[in-house]
Amino acid sequence: MDVGLLSQYIMNGLMLGMMYTLVAVGFTLFFGVLDIIKFSHGDVLTVGAFTGLATYIGLRSVGVSSTPLLLLAVLVVAILAMAALGMLIARYLVLPLRSAPALNTLLITLMLGTVLREMVRLFYPQGANPKPFPALLPTDSINLGQFNLRLDNAIMLATGVAIIVGLRLLLNRTKLGLAIRAVAQDEETARTMGINFTAIVLITFAIGSALAAIGGVMNGLYYNEINFGMGLLLGVIGFSAAIIGGLGSIYGAILGGFLFAALQTIGAVALPFASAYKDVFAFTVVIALMAWRPTGLIQEKISERV
């Protein structure tokens, strides 16, 4: 295959992988601290994207026109709003359910996802229709043979990498990170270490949801279109990524995210059948992976006391 073409495919795959990773990391963070799956995560991403769009429209209407300023505002507002939303969800839906069976939590958060999705559809003006999302990044591009490198994609990719590296540092180098990992290790010991469990959980949900907000905005910037349903599939894919990577492990989430994107791209181009089958292919592989590694690629330690 032509090199330019190949690099084009790789670029497409990387962009997808980055967005999946941002979602997957959220799932894995939440699981880490609470051992629960918060399935509304994908729809938090949607809400984040729409918050960003609303901010943009609002600022434009009051005459703000400097693109960098707009971009900054869109990101900041979306991140703050989603962080707050994440905390609310944790405080009023997830924490009260700690004693309930895992299935209930799963279902409640799934239903919460439906609520968020429907809210966007019903209460955002004409929310049922796909919304154009402004291109706030420089769109100049260089054509290298078949490969067309766009500045905005490059920037987004770089940002994504920066965010993930940042998160690693946060978790490994800071007191907060230590606290989060302590809670993830074992709630009781964490409490005895004098860590405020609830506070840490809320902060973790804030961080995860903020990542979702970034993912949402990034999605909008990449496709220049957002719709109320975008979160559902992204959520499921993010969940799959977190699981095949191995719940509770950041590296697992990253691995899973890019792996899934790779599978889709391969399914689309490198396989004999029509590119439409790419998701069928990707999910088949996911199921096969689960059969091979029932607890994910980066194995979770399981020690059962008998």
Binding site: F31, V115, E118, A276
Partner: protein, 393 residues
């Protein structure tokens, strides 16, 4: 052993009276007819409000306990009354296509959810692809009715079998994984199947396929017919067969629960390690439950395909699977009566609330959340197992 002269009587509690159960069935039948009959939205909302208040009132007046007791001990009798009630409702709407269709939908969803109940109500095998297996059944009847002359009753069985077989492809990962990891397997399958149906042309792609109506021994289910001079809706045919299917499934699930197998499934769900220390073959029973459950779901799907007359990938999405799961949790995991009640609520409510048509999914999701928050066991929690209810244990 010396058990022979000491017969295994439970403490000599007097047989619970039949009456409360009968009254309950009668009242709910009347209510259901009223609810289905009214069109004017204010009336509908009024009725719903009344229903909720009535149930809560009955709850606080402790009128529900005698009801549940007579259901617990006189189940056979009351099931008969319930069937009778269903027939009364059907007769009342004998020429109203839409209400009957709604009713048939409820019955078949109930059947499918009972299948799901075998899987994770009893064995604890998560299945978030219920709608997919339902769809496999439906597509089976679509294809067979279009391209072959296979007798339609046989088509139903094939639909179930196919669902069970395709489900078996998931057995390895399903058996090896636990908890959320197990959830992913079926979720992935749900998405996989929907996309597959969408992109694959042979099965009509996103456009879907028409399904020929059922006909048995030349009796075509899709024609209206007359009894005496009264014109009957053709959906009455489907009502009868769906009712039969539901009764059959109900009996199956009941007997399963009230047998050593039901006990095994519970034991495995609650503590696999302990279960294996007492000789239970975990894999064998999980497989039994998963295959049996999917068969039932596929069966219902195959029939529903013929009722609806049309199949398309969008009918069998992950979201639809979730609806089945929430029916199960709403009703109370493991309790077949709960499943039936919850199915009525979940299927009929959105249909009747047309004024808030736009908002009905929102409302529905909120209801599920509230119920799970304040009644995590579901509306009708599963009672402790009685092998032979009524007097004897």
């Amino acid at each position: 052993m010396s058990g022979s002269e000491r017969m295994p009587e439970v403490k000599q509690e007097p047989q619970a009276p039949l009456l409360p159960g009968v009254v309950a069935v009668a009242l709910s039948t009347a209510y259901l007819i009223a609810l289905l009959a009214v069109e004017k939205q204010p009336l509908v909302i009024g009725l719903l409000a009344f229903g909720i208040v009535a149930v809560l009132a009955a709850h606080y007046m402790d009128w529900l306990d005698p009801v549940s007791r007579s259901f617990a001990e006189r189940e056979g009798m009351l099931s008969a009354y319930a069937i009778l009630a269903a027939c009364v409702v059907a007769a009342f709407f004998h020429d109203n296509h839409f209400v009957l269709l709604l009713f048939v939908t409820v019955l078949l969803y109930a059947v499918a959810t009972l299948g799901l109940n075998i899987e994770f109500g009893y064995a604890g095998v998560l299945n978030f692809a219920g709608a997919s297996f339902f769809g496999i059944g439906a597509y089976t009847s679509a294809v067979l009715n279009t391209y072959t002359a296979v007798p339609h009753l046989l088509v139903l069985l094939i639909g179930g079998t196919l669902a069970a077989l395709i489900g078996s492809l998931l057995l390895l990962p399903v058996l090896r994984t636990r908890g959320h990891y197990a959830a992913l397997v079926t979720i992935a399958f749900a998405l996989l199947l929907k996309t597959f149906l969408e992109v694959n042309d042979v099965l009509g792609g996103p456009q879907g396929m028409q399904v020929k109506g059922m006909s048995i021994l030349g009796w075509s289910f899709n024609d209206n017919f007359e009894i005496g001079k009264i014109e009957m809706s053709f959906y009455l045919n489907y009502f009868v067969i769906s009712m039969l299917l539901l009764c059959g499934t109900f009996v199956l699930v009941r007997r399963l629960e009230r047998s050593w197998i039901g006990l095994n499934l519970d034991a495995i769900r609650l503590d696999e390690t302990a279960a294996s220390c007492f000789g239970l073959d975990i894999a064998r029973w999980k497989i039994t439950a998963f295959v049996l459950g999917n068969f039932v779901i596929g069966l219902a799907g195959a029939l529903f395909g013929m009722v609806g007359g049309f199949v398309a990938p969008n009918n069998y999405t992950f979201a639809d699977s979730l609806i089945m799961v929430s029916i199960l949790l709403l009703g109370g995991i493991g309790n077949p009566w709960g499943v039936v009640v919850a199915t009525f609520i979940v299927v009929v409510l959105p249909e009747k609330l047309q004024t808030i048509q736009e908002y009905r999914f929102l409302l529905y999701a909120l209801i599920v959340i509230v119920v799970l928050l304040f009644r995590p066991e579901g509306l009708l929690p599963r009672p402790v197992r009685r092998y032979f209810p009524g007097g004897r244990a």
